[in-house]
C-alpha cells in the first residue's frame, strides 16, 4: 500500500506543531461574537454568504489582541493566511493579508493544516478530477502538469480516483447553493496552501520533501523570464569575451613560438619562458594586460609591477598582499610569528609601511590578529587587491615601465630547420618488435652456448654434402 511515513522518530513533526496549536487557539478566539472579529455578508449574484471579514478588521483585531504594532500584526496576519487558517476571496492565489477591505473567510477545521500527515497525492488527484468533472478545461497549466504526473504515478488507483471524484461531486451537489460555493472555496484554498502555484512558496513546506528549493531565487511575476534571459546572455557574453581574448594564447588552438619542444626536440620555448627570465616574450607581456590576476600570478609580471610601484612609492600594497599570501600558504607553526611581523610592518598605527584600508576592515583585522589563523588577513587582502586592481593596475598598463617591456619583449620566429626536424621525425620502433628481436637473439645465444649434439652436427654436414 502507500508507504506512509519514514522512521524518523517524530523529528519530522516536532518543529511545527507548537506553532500550529497556538495559531489555532488564536483563530478560535477570533470567532467570539463579542470580542472576536466583526464579520459581514458577502453578496454574490446568486446568493449571499455570511461570515466574511475584511483584511483591515483582522489586522485591527490582531494588533489589539496581541498588543503589537501594525507591522507585526501584518506579519502575523500573513502567517495565518499562508498556513491556510484564513483564505482570501479575491486574488485567491496570493496568500497574504491585505490591510484593506479585501475579503477573507475562515477555513473549516477539516481543512486546517496538520503537521502529522501530509496532504495526500490521492486526495489531490481526486480534487483535480472533480474540477475536471465540474467543467472541463478549467485547470491551470501547473495543475494540468500535476494531473498528468499523478495519472502516471497513481495509475493503478485511477479508477478509484475517478469514482470517488464523481461521488464527491454528486454528494456536494446535495447541499444548497451557498454552501456549495463555500465548500468549493474552502477546498480550493486548502490545495493552494498544500500544492502551491509555481513561483510561490507553501508555508507547510518542510524538510526533505520540500516542493520548493529555498536556495533558488524567487522572482515574482513575468519578470522572472526576463531576468533569467538577461543572466544567460550575460554569461554567454562573458564566455565569448574570454574566448576571444585567450584565443591566441591557447596551446591547443595556436601554435606556440618558437616551436613545440615535444615535437621539434628544441627546448628554446621553455628557456624563453622561464620564471625569472630577463626579457619575457611578447605573448607573455600581452597576457599580463588581460587582468590583474594574470599579472600577479606570473612571477616575471609581478617583478615588473614591483618596479613600477617602486617608482610610484606605493609598494606597500603589493608587499602586504604578498605577505598575506605567504601566511595563507605557509606552515601553521609560522602563522603567529608572521602575524606579528605583518602587524608591526603594515597595520600598526605609525608602521613603516602602513597600508590604507578602511576603518571597519582595519578594526576586524586587528581584532582577528589577536588569535591569528591562516585566513585572518583575508578581508584586508581582498580590499588591497581590489584597490590595486582598480587603480594601480590601469596606471601600470599606461606607464612607461610597461611600454618599455613591451618593446623589449621577444617574439621568436620559428626557424625553418626546426620545422623540418619536426616533420622528419620518424616514429620509434615498436617496443614489442624490439623485444621479439631480443628474444630471438637470446635463443640463438643459448643454442650456441649449449652442448653440441654430434648426431645433429653430422646430419647437417651430410645435408651439406
Amino acid at each position: 500500500m502507500t508507504i506512509k511515513f519514514i522512521r524518523d522518530h517524530g523529528q519530522h513533526y516536532r518543529p511545527r506543531m507548537a506553532c500550529l496549536a497556538k495559531v489555532e487557539a488564536m483563530v478560535l478566539e477570533m470567532q467570539d461574537s463579542k470580542s472576536g472579529v466583526k464579520s459581514s455578508e458577502q453578496k454574490l449574484n446568486i446568493t449571499s454568504i455570511p461570515h466574511v471579514v475584511t483584511g483591515q478588521d483582522i489586522l485591527a483585531w490582531i494588533a489589539n489582541h496581541m498588543k503589537v504594532d501594525a507591522q507585526e500584526a501584518q506579519t502575523i496576519g500573513t502567517m495565518l493566511v499562508a498556513y491556510g487558517f484564513i483564505y482570501p476571496l479575491q486574488d485567491h492565489k496570493k496568500l497574504i493579508l491585505k490591510p484593506d477591505v479585501s475579503l477573507y473567510r475562515f477555513q473549516t477545521p477539516y481543512f486546517w493544516p496538520v503537521q502529522k500527515w501530509k496532504a495526500d497525492n490521492t486526495d489531490y488527484a481526486i480534487y483535480l478530477a472533480k474540477r475536471n468533472i465540474r467543467k472541463k478545461g478549467t485547470l491551470d497549466v501547473y495543475e494540468q502538469e500535476y494531473y498528468k504526473n499523478l495519472h502516471k504515478w497513481l495509475n493503478h488507483k485511477w479508477d478509484f480516483i475517478v469514482m470517488q471524484a464523481k461521488e464527491q461531486y454528486r454528494a456536494g451537489k446535495e447541499r444548497n447553493k451557498a454552501d456549495r460555493v463555500v465548500f468549493d472555496c474552502q477546498e480550493r484554498a486548502y490545495w493552494i496552501v498544500h500544492r502551491p502555484p509555481p513561483r510561490t512558496h507553501s508555508a507547510m513546506d518542510y524538510g526533505v520533501d520540500r516542493l520548493i528549493d529555498p536556495n533558488a531565487e524567487e522572482v515574482k511575476g513575468e519578470g522572472a523570464h526576463g531576468v533569467r534571459l538577461i543572466c544567460l546572455l550575460r554569461v554567454f557574453f562573458r564566455i565569448l569575451k574570454h574566448m576571444t581574448t585567450y584565443k591566441d594564447h591557447d596551446p591547443f588552438l595556436a601554435p606556440c613560438l618558437p616551436s613545440n619542444p615535444w615535437q621539434t626536440d628544441d627546448s628554446s620555448y621553455w628557456d624563453l619562458n622561464m620564471r625569472n627570465v630577463e626579457i619575457p616574450t611578447k605573448m607573455r607581456v600581452e597576457r599580463w594586460s588581460f587582468s590583474f590576476f594574470e599579472l600577479l600570478n606570473d612571477p616575471r609580471g609581478r617583478t615588473d609591477f614591483k618596479v613600477f610601484l617602486k617608482k610610484e612609492f606605493s609598494g606597500e600594497n603589493l608587499a602586504f598582499w604578498e605577505a598575506a599570501e605567504e601566511m595563507k600558504w605557509g606552515t601553521a607553526s609560522s602563522i603567529s610569528e608572521k602575524a606579528q611581523t605583518i602587524f608591526k610592518t603594515f597595520l600598526a598605527p605609525g608602521a613603516p609601511r602602513w597600508i590604507n584600508i578602511d576603518g571597519r576592515t582595519m578594526g576586524l583585522t586587528v581584532k582577528g590578529l589577536e588569535h591569528p589563523h591562516r585566513y585572518v588577513l583575508d578581508a584586508a587582502q581582498t580590499h588591497i587587491f581590489m584597490l590595486m586592481k582598480k587603480d594601480t593596475f590601469y596606471r601600470y598598463l599606461k606607464s612607461p615601465v610597461y611600454k618599455d617591456i613591451q618593446k623589449k619583449a621577444l617574439s621568436p620566429a620559428p626557424p625553418s630547420q626546426l620545422e623540418q626536424n619536426a616533420q622528419n621525425r620518424k616514429p620509434g620502433i615498436n617496443p614489442i618488435i624490439i623485444w621479439q628481436q631480443e628474444e630471438e637473439e637470446r635463443a640463438k645465444a643459448a643454442a650456441a652456448a649449449g652442448p653440441i649434439d654430434i648426431k645433429k652436427l653430422m646430419a647437417s654436414k651430410l645435408d651439406r654434402k
Partner: protein
C-alpha cells in the same frame, strides 16, 4: 475440479458475486464521499449533535459494506482455478477496495481528532466553533448516504465499533489483506483514461468557482453601498472597480 466440468450454476453464482461486489464498491464510494462532505462541517458553526449522529450512522453503514465486501472478495480471490478475465476484474476490485479503505481510514482519523478538539458537551463549546460561512448542516448529504443499500442481505449482525477502534480495525484489515492475497498493485490497469471523466454528467449548469466569484465584483459596481456593509465604503468600491 476441472474447469471444463464446472457447472453452469457455479459460473452464474460467481458472476453474481462479482457484480454484487461491484455494486458494493460503488456504494462504498458513495458513502465515503458523503462522510467526507459531512466531516467538513465539523468544528464549524453548522456543527451539532445531529451532524455527529448522522456521521455515526454513515460510518456504521460503511462498516457493514466493508466487512461484507472484504469477506466476499477474499472468497473470490481464494479460488485457485479461474478464468482469465474474471481474475483481472476481481484483482482490480481488490486494489480499489484497498484504496477506498485507506481513504476512508484517513477521513476517520481526521474526524476523530476534530471531534476531540471541538467537543459539544458544554455550552461554552459552541462559542468556539469556527464561522465558516456555511449555513446548511449537511443533513441532505446524510440523506443521500442513507439511501445507499448494501447489495446483500444484512443478516450479519455485527456490532458497530466506535471510532477509534474502527480506525485500528481498518489497519488490521489492510494488513491482513496485504498478507493474505498476493496481488501486485501495479498490475492493475485502469479502465478510465486520463481526462476521461470530464465528458459526462451535468456540466452545463455549473459555472466554475471563478465565474461565480467574478460575478460578485460586477454586481458590486452597481450597488454603491452593497459591497461590504460598511458605512464608509467608497474606498472599497473603488477597489472593486480596480479589481
Amino acid at each position: 475440479m476441472n474447469r471444463w466440468r464446472r457447472s453452469v450454476g457455479e459460473i452464474q453464482a460467481r458472476r453474481r458475486q462479482v457484480s454484487e461486489c461491484e455494486q458494493a464498491q460503488s456504494a462504498l464510494s458513495k458513502v465515503t464521499a458523503c462522510y467526507q462532505q459531512m466531516a467538513t462541517c465539523l468544528g464549524s458553526n453548522t456543527d451539532g449533535s445531529s451532524l455527529r449522529e448522522e456521521l455515526e450512522e454513515t460510518r456504521a453503514l460503511a462498516h457493514r459494506i466493508c466487512t461484507g465486501m472484504h469477506r466476499r472478495l477474499l472468497a473470490l480471490l481464494a479460488e485457485t482455478e479461474q478464468v482469465q478475465e474474471d481474475r483481472e476484474q476481481v484483482e482490480r476490485m481488490w486494489v480499489l477496495f484497498l484504496c477506498a479503505l485507506e481513504n476512508f481510514q484517513q477521513d476517520l482519523r481526521k474526524v476523530s481528532i476534530l471531534q476531540e478538539t471541538f467537543p459539544l458537551g458544554q455550552r461554552k463549546d459552541r462559542r468556539a466553533l469556527v464561522n465558516t460561512g456555511a449555513t446548511g448542516g449537511g443533513s441532505e448529504v446524510a440523506g443521500r448516504a442513507a439511501t445507499v443499500q448494501t447489495p446483500w442481505v444484512t443478516t450479519e449482525g455485527e456490532k458497530k465499533p466506535d471510532l477509534k477502534s474502527h480506525v485500528l480495525e481498518i489497519d488490521g484489515l489492510l494488513q491482513e489483506m496485504l498478507q493474505r492475497v498476493n496481488v501486485p498493485l501495479w498490475s492493475v490497469e485502469p479502465t478510465q483514461n486520463a481526462w476521461g471523466e470530464g465528458c459526462g454528467d451535468a456540466q452545463d449548469e455549473d459555472d466554475t468557482l471563478e465565474e461565480i466569484m467574478e460575478v460578485e465584483v460586477v454586481s458590486q459596481d452597481n450597488r454603491a453601498s452593497g459591497c461590504c456593509n460598511h458605512s464608509n465604503c467608497k474606498l472599497g468600491c473603488i477597489f472593486c472597480l480596480l479589481n
